[in-house]
């Protein structure tokens, strides 16, 4: 079985699972874990979008 993901899809999947692990392992309480996981996910995806636009501008 072969799965083909585009770049954004791969980055989103990566961000989701890495954020879950970061949230669980880097915080003490359940509430903080959820908040930190969401924060990491937003930072990962935000970073992808910012880097994407930066590369688009560099290409111009």
């Amino acid at each position: 079985m072969t799965i083909t993901l585009n770049h954004f899809g791969a980055a989103t999947v990566f961000a989701l699972f890495a954020s879950i692990v970061f949230g669980i392992t880097h915080r003490e309480t359940t509430r903080d874990m959820i908040r930190y996981g969401i924060y990491c996910f937003a930072m990962f995806l935000g970073g992808v979008i910012v880097a994407g636009w930066a590369m688009w501008l560099l290409r111009r």
């Binding site: 791969a10 989701l16 699972f17």
Partner: protein, 136 residues
């Protein structure tokens, strides 16, 4: 005075069985280090995250690194992959993860598998911290 005696006694305290067992089992099966300490939800979430990431990498035709003494990036790739524990052992035994260089997404798959192993190292450290009482 009494405080420093108590601190010394704490330092000399032998390592508990759980402090050794939890990271070891956690390495072999992602999330199991948390599950044996009755952190069921955390363990299941870690298991799903790490195993899915690794299997997606495999399905994307990613390459698995074998033990090597060559290029530094290959050595680091091996260190990352080996963190996935039983997933890595099974993949090697079944001769999966040979990589398909004709697929552009195969490189993403290779990175997915390395990151799955590295995330499992973090999960192992967390299981150890729970076992020694540093974390709830």
């Amino acid at each position: 005075m009494a405080n420093s005696t108590a601190e010394k006694a704490k330092v000399a305290e032998p390592v508990s069985t759980m402090a050794v067992l939890a990271p070891a089992i956690g390495w072999l099966i992602p999330g199991a280090g948390h599950m044996i300490q009755k952190r069921w939800i955390r363990g299941v979430l870690l298991f799903i995250s790490i195993v899915t990431l690794f299997l997606l990498g495999l399905a994307m035709q990613g390459r698995i690194y074998k033990a090597n003494g060559g290029d530094i990036l290959d050595i680091l790739g091996f260190v990352g992959d080996v963190g996935a524990g039983a997933l890595y052992i099974i993949t090697l035994a079944m001769d999966w993860g040979t990589g398909a260089i004709q697929l552009a997404t195969a490189d993403y798959g290779t990175k997915f598998m390395i990151v799955a192993g590295l995330l499992n190292f973090i999960a192992m450290a967390d299981a150890y911290h729970i076992a020694i009482g540093k974390k709830q």
